[in-house]
């Protein structure tokens, strides 16, 4: 059994981080250059970590599977980033941001981590502005804010509908500066295919160059994974097509615990599925809910055009069910409400899987130009995909997979249970509990990279002798490389008759039906039969054309889908074991009469961290109790 020591510092909640920073070990400036740190991934968390560590003087090697670090999927975040600046004078504070985030996560995150996140949120905005991120401003030149779900203050900073892009380009520019200065050794088109553990500590990675096929070994004093989330296990999601679980999954297979893998975020406002060929779903930012009103017909099977349905026959169900938060109810709650409406036969569009997001009132109140200025690019995206104008008719939206709160288990220092392996951003499990609030992912990625890891990695490295990292021809490296080569050879040799995409689609369907917005014991048990059967079919009949020594996108996908097959099974196992409903994890057996989540704090007020036991063996479920010292786990109420 793995030991899961959260290493939460003692003392009052608001003092923990400050106290911890003054107590953890430091590495002196002249010694920093003797340590080499590997950073895998260059989204918000990876770029900010790599550039900050290089700025401190560490030798940094950064690996990204994209052709440029600027392509990471953080770039697609639309709406904004939260920070407890209280620039609006509307009563915000670090404590409120902490509380909203903890409550938003349905009391399944650690208090101390979430409080730290709220504390450093203010530094993130300062840092980004200093880098030249062009946040929206008011005429007086000061920063503007908007509102997001699960909050009753305006604390979200934004750059039109492209906040993630601007923040990532800020972090990318910081990373570029360090690459230009020779302080970061950047490897693009480089996918991590294994973690190398030597003497129980993470000491390197195995990398495949996606263009040449070359496999290489890289040794280091510490390894940071900032490789994002695993929502593509569902095939259809708002993730980029390349987003995958491979880096964290291979680390899991080397002993890192996977925490709460079943916590998945289904975002309520995405463009509905249109056909079987579809490769991805597109998000319509939560910011639209500042001005858009969500509704469905009151009557089931009402096929009239939206304009033909009179006010009295419309159900603005979020406003009706959650009057204090209205259309800005948190994502998990808004998604389930949409699903219930569609299950009642009140869904709209040709598929019946959609509800309306209507801007008529906002256009009437503010005028079309003002709406265009706020949301123009989102309306454009909607038009490109559906060939419909949201200025004239309401958008049709439906929930889609958007984020994964689960990830590799980390302690307060963001170190996994494998010493020397740190996990940042969406790849870890730490801050969002069972449901992430909007505009919090960007906050967490940058908090981890700019303001947490620069402190906490020193505490680990100070205990490592400079120059003690293993040679890259150590037996552990040779073994890991042989394993990677073995897998590649197996894929190419299978020569079956079905493309990788066939299996990804099938897995996605199982996951969406059995482990999506609503989960049942019977469904999850069925999935635990179906997925292994699909894996067998994959191993026997996948077709991976081409060779290993060139750009081979089928080969890349095969490796990723193989890992998704394993991960999907673990997600179902986790969802089956967690006999409660919380946040994004909704077990139909555990709900109140009004359909709200029924948590079981007594039995499940803990983190489930799964530990790999070997091929074909049932993993071990470790737990870390969530000890709330300062907050009461209460019933989440947005009514």
């Amino acid at each position: 059994m793995a030991t899961l020591d959260s290493k939460i510092p003692s003392g009052p909640l608001a003092e923990k981080w400050r106290k911890h920073k003054t107590e953890i070990k430091l590495v002196n400036p002249a010694n920093k250059r003797k340590y080499e740190v590997i950073v895998v991934g260059a989204g918000l968390a990876g770029s900010s970590a790599a550039s900050s560590l290089a700025d401190l003087g560490y030798k940094v090697k950064c690996f990204v599977f994209h052709d440029s670090p600027r392509r990471a999927h953080s770039i697609a975040a639309q709406g904004g980033i939260n920070a407890a600046k209280n620039y609006q004078n509307d009563g915000d504070s670090v404590h409120r941001l902490f509380y909203d985030t903890l409550k938003g996560g349905d009391y399944r995150a650690r208090e101390a981590n979430v409080h730290r996140l709220a504390e450093v949120s203010v530094n993130i905005i300062d840092q980004c502005v200093a880098q030249g991120v062009p946040f929206a401003r008011e005429y007086g030149g000061l920063l503007a804010n908007r509102s997001f779900g699960g909050a009753q203050v305006s604390r979200t900073f934004y750059a039109r509908g492209q906040t993630g892009q601007q923040l990532l380009l800020g972090a990318y520019s910081a990373l570029s500066r360090m690459v230009g200065a020779g302080a970061v050794d950047l490897h693009t088109n480089s996918e991590m295919l294994d973690l190398v553990v030597v003497g129980g500590q993470a000491k390197g990675v195995i990398i495949r160059n996606l263009v040449t096929g070359e496999i290489s070994r890289h040794s280091a004093d510490a390894v940071i994974l900032a490789t994002g989330g695993y929502g593509n296990v569902f095939n259809l999601s708002t993730y980029a097509r390349g987003s995958n679980t491979t880096a964290i999954w291979r680390a899991y297979k080397r002993g890192a615990c996977m925490a709460n893998p079943c916590y998945t975020q289904i975002h309520p406002t995405c463009i509905p599925v249109s056909g079987d060929y579809q490769s991805k779903l597109t998000l319509m930012s939560e910011s639209l809910r500042n001005d858009g009103r969500i509704w469905a017909p009151k009557k089931a099977g009402d096929t009239r055009a939206p304009a033909a349905i009179p006010e009295s026959e419309r159900d603005y169900y979020l406003e009706r069910l959650y009057p204090s938060f209205g259309n800005l109810a948190p994502r998990d709650i808004a998604s389930r409400a949409a699903k219930r409406i569609c299950d009642e036969g009140r869904g709209v569009g040709s598929t019946g899987l959609g509800v309306y997001l209507d801007f008529a009132d906002a256009i009437h109140r503010l005028g079309e130009p003002a709406v265009r200025e706020r949301y123009g690019n989102l309306f454009d995206i909607y038009h490109e995909i559906t060939a419909e104008s949201a200025y004239k008719a309401p958008m049709r939206i439906y929930p889609a997979v958007h984020y994964t709160m689960g990830g590799l288990w980390v302690d307060y220092n963001l170190m996994s249970n494998i010493p020397g392996l740190f996990v940042l951003g969406e790849a870890n499990f730490s801050d969002h509990g069972a449901n992430r609030l909007g505009a919090s992912a960007l906050m967490q990625g940058l908090a981890d990279g700019y303001f947490v890891i620069p402190y906490t990695i020193g505490d680990y490295l100070a205990g490592q002798k400079p120059g003690s990292r293993p040679a890259s021809d150590a037996p552990e490296f040779q073994q890991a490389e042989a394993d990677v080569r073995g897998q590649t050879t197996r894929f190419l040799a299978t020569k079956g008759n079905l493309p990788v995409s066939h299996f990804h689609k099938k897995l996605g369907k199982i996951m969406w039906d059995r482990c999506g917005m609503a989960r049942t014991k019977a469904g999850l048990e069925a999935a635990l039969q179906e997925i292994p059967a699909l894996r067998e079919e994959f191993n026997a009949s996948v077709n991976v054309p081409g060779s290993a020594d060139t750009l081979n996108q089928s080969l890349e996908k095969a490796g990723r889908v193989a890992d998704f097959l394993d991960l999907g099974e673990l997600m179902c196992r986790d969802a089956l074991t967690r006999e409660e409903s919380c946040g994004g994890h909704f077990r139909e057996e555990h709900q109140f009469a009004d359909g709200e989540c029924k948590r079981d704090d007594e039995k499940f007020g803990h983190v489930a961290a799964w530990e790999y036991q070997g091929e074909g063996k049932t993993p071990v479920r470790n737990t870390e109790a969530l000890n709330y010292e300062f907050t009461k786990m209460s019933l989440r109420n947005y009514k």
Partner: protein, 270 residues
């Protein structure tokens, strides 16, 4: 889920550039694309064709893509001679098959430019853009040393104009559209974005000189002011930023010519 069959589908011929590797000789090859739904994206159509090629034992067409929502800048096809295809202000991934008609022959090639060598089929190496960024496309701001974000008010107009430039997705369509394969729109967007902001003033001269010089050494051509670049830009970035950069470059050159070079740019050694 709607059945694709309820929509009117059609068929096209794809004339695709196939090239096995950087050193190989490439050629156009025709493939049929059948039962295409008008609601498919261009890349989803390529997915369908690729699955069929796989089934026939033909290696699928390599193409660059990732976010499929027009923001990551990975996708990069020249479609019927136009970078990112027929639409205005969209990337390849935001091009939908409803832009084409039954029995069309659609010519698909990689972005062509000396500075963007072909890696395979439709995939090119655009690392030259990263090198330009690394030479100066940043504001030096170490984490931990920033003043309060509202300490420096920025007029809304300046911030909005900076944002117009900052939207660049780094796809390279501007280069592919230019007969000289010039990177002026790309470079000027970054120079303009950072140069418009008060935070960007300290390194303004250095930035424009370094980025333009790097661009010149990487094999991009010169700008002859025909603005094919902004017409092809998926974010519709204006060529006005090129004029702005030319002015910045000139003033920075003059200032650096008449200013003694600092003795040591590496910081204090004491």
């Amino acid at each position: 889920m709607v059945a694709a069959s309820t929509l009117k589908t059609f068929s096209v011929t794809l004339r695709v550039w196939r090239q096995a590797g950087p050193a190989a000789t490439g050629a156009f090859v025709d493939y049929p694309a059948k039962d295409i739904s008008p609601d498919m994206s261009f890349l989803e159509m390529l997915d369908v064709v690729n699955d069929e090629l796989s089934a026939q034992g033909i290696e699928p067409i390599a193409f660059a893509h990732d976010c499929r929502e027009g923001i990551c800048g990975t996708c990069s096809c020249t479609i019927n001679g136009k970078p990112h295809g027929p639409g205005k202000g969209v990337a390849t991934c935001q091009t939908y098959m409803r832009s084409f008609s039954d029995a069309d022959t659609i010519v698909v090639e990689p972005f062509r430019a000396r500075a963007f060598p072909v890696v395979k089929d439709l995939v090119t190496d655009r690392s030259a853009f990263d090198k330009i960024q690394q030479s100066g496309g940043f504001i030096t701001a170490r984490a931990g040393s920033a003043p309060d974000a509202n300490a420096l008010p920025i007029p809304k107009g300046d911030a909005d104009l900076a944002m117009d430039a900052a939207q660049c997705i780094g796809c390279g369509a501007c280069v592919a559209a230019c007969k000289n394969a010039s990177a002026m729109l790309f470079v000027s967007a970054k120079v303009g974005h950072l140069g418009l902001l008060p935070q960007g003033q300290a390194e303004r001269d250095r930035r424009v000189l370094a980025m333009v010089n790097t661009m010149d050494t990487l094999g991009f051509g010169s700008c002859t002011n025909q603005y094919e670049c902004s017409a092809a830009c998926p974010k519709l970035i204006s060529h006005d930023f090129i004029a702005r950069m030319n002015r910045d470059y000139l003033t920075a050159s003059l200032r650096s010519a008449f200013k003694p070079a600092p003795a040591n740019t590496g910081g204090g050694a004491a």
